[in-house]
Symmetry: C2
Subunit: 322 residues, 2 copies
């Protein structure tokens, strides 16, 4: 991905450590995090310095490499990484790939990361065929390069279109509570030179009703065998609104997000995160949270929801559109 005109990946291996773009500080600060302990990788995943299903999968593979280099037990390290976040299926895919792979520790992780990046690029190649010049796409959360090793899932076809010199416009849901749309997606689109406008999550329905959205395109954290999709909280609402307004709703995800062992969305564990993410907001160039409600206000904070298959027009994968 482009950052101030230079090519970056979301995470990579350099000087004996895992380097990551710290996504908690974007867009106000661009900082590279350097991690060389298993605990450090676990914290980076659970605290969302690195986030997005494919990126979590690659971070987990690098975490295994670090564990193996330090002589830690692979089974225990697998468990620790596996328990950092419950919903993203790529996490398990990255870990399982590492366990099966042959070769040097870092080599195995790099191989996974490279393959992951290539899968995302191919999602873009297939997805872009679906998208006509001047399309107005609405997206949710960040399913961009920052959610992956590179390229993104939902944003990958947009980058491919841009590289082909074709025009499009992106409505960016801000995506409360963590504001990945406001903080990450709009920043990525700006870096890539793709036209966009930020909106509150509340505005998506209004835009669809007014005929200002031609397609909804989101990522996924896990896709069940029956086609139900787990993705960022609010995705289900967008899918219902899209159907109500006859707007095609697409999901973009690599095959590593498909969980064949999971029959339907009802079997997917939905992570519930700290209520503080709802009662407080971090703005500006810092991690420090400001309250937006009275002290001690109860809040619930499910991080994902389930979109039943019937709302999904298709899934863009590295092998084509399903």
């Amino acid at each position: 991905m482009l950052v101030n005109g230079r090519q970056y990946r979301t995470l990579w291996w350099e000087d004996g450590a895992l380097k990551m773009i710290d996504q908690r500080l974007l867009p106000c600060r661009f900082r590279i995090l350097s991690v060389n302990t298993l605990g450090g990788v676990c914290d980076a995943i659970s605290d969302m310095a690195v986030r997005g299903a494919p990126a979590i999968g690659a971070a987990a593979a690098y975490g295994m490499a670090i564990a193996q280099l330090q002589g830690l037990g692979l089974k225990e390290s697998y468990e620790r990484l596996y328990n950092t976040r419950p919903t993203a299926y790529d996490l398990k895919d990255g870990l399982d790939h590492y366990m099966r792979a042959q070769g040097e520790p870092v080599e195995k992780a790099v191989e996974y990361a490279n393959a992951s990046s290539e899968r995302c690029r191919m999602i873009g190649v297939h997805g872009a065929k679906l998208m006509r010049e001047g399309l107005r796409v609405l997206t949710h959360c960040n399913a961009g390069a920052l959610a992956c090793v590179d390229w993104g899932t939902a944003l990958s076809p947009m980058r491919v279109m841009k590289n082909e010199g074709r025009d499009l416009f992106v409505w960016v849901d801000e995506t409360r509570p963590r504001l990945q749309g406001a903080k990450l997606t709009s920043w990525e689109l700006k870096q890539e030179g793709i036209r966009h406008s930020l909106i509150t999550d509340n505005s998506a329905g209004h835009l669809m009703q007014k005929g200002l959205v031609d397609m909804v395109l989101v990522g996924a954290d896990r896709i069940a065998a029956n086609g139900d999709v787990a993705n960022k909280i609010g995705t289900y609402s967008l899918a219902v609104l899209a159907r109500e307004n006859n707007i095609p709703f697409y999901v973009a995800a690599p095959k590593t997000t498909f969980d064949r062992g999971c029959r339907s969305g009802g079997d997917i564990i939905i992570e519930e995160r700290d209520a503080l993410e709802v009662t407080h907001i971090a703005g500006g160039n810092r991690l420090e949270m400001q309250p937006i409600t009275y002290d001690g206000c109860p809040a619930r904070n499910w991080a994902f929801d389930i979109t039943p298959r019937k709302y999904v027009r298709g899934v863009l994968t590295e092998e084509g559109i399903i």
Copy 2:
């Protein structure tokens, strides 16, 4: 309404000035704003120190009283107040009532405010009959006492239930961009001792899908002759989601919100506010805004949306349920 155990109204006349609870600082600071110029009332409305359709209507009546006391032209004062915010129909109702009324300036405004408060109380009396013990209601924005002179619209039946000793539970949408749910509604419910939990706007669909919502109940800024409802942005999404999940969707509003001159929702002007409300967030005990996106990010900020009549099960008014 109760504030730390003491009865308050949102706005009232005292010592030759209009007093208002400053809603921009809640819940972190409880401050009474004192205004005694027409410009001061206009600013309080447009800057949302006072907000909510019925409260805006009453503030406008007091604004007219101040203008008349100071010898300003009534017609010009009417125009200035009328142009503060375009969507709330009660604003026009408050102004028109003042123009028609007989008596001393302040007396005319107080009479309007008292009648407005009583209308809201009666919405509660009628609405509470609809609500069974233990009901789980989802509400959006703030349609509470703070949006009115007292009692509220959507929150009025909840207060009546509470006064009758009946239990209920309220899901509070935080309501981006201005966070009236997080900042005002949860605070009001806490003051009144009504059980509640704050959620992001993105979570409402997930809750409905999981069967955790028995009713959606919101306020309104303007209701067209055909029954279409203008209310806070995000209301249309809730209505679509409620219908998809077979959950009754009700609107609570006094007759002063019904605009007979407006045929349908398509005729209602939707206010578009400053993009800064989307790109920045004010947390904590201050008005100062922190950026949540890169500098200069484009954003759109429609303050309201239109819910077509077909999604609305009924409107709770002071005369009963329509």
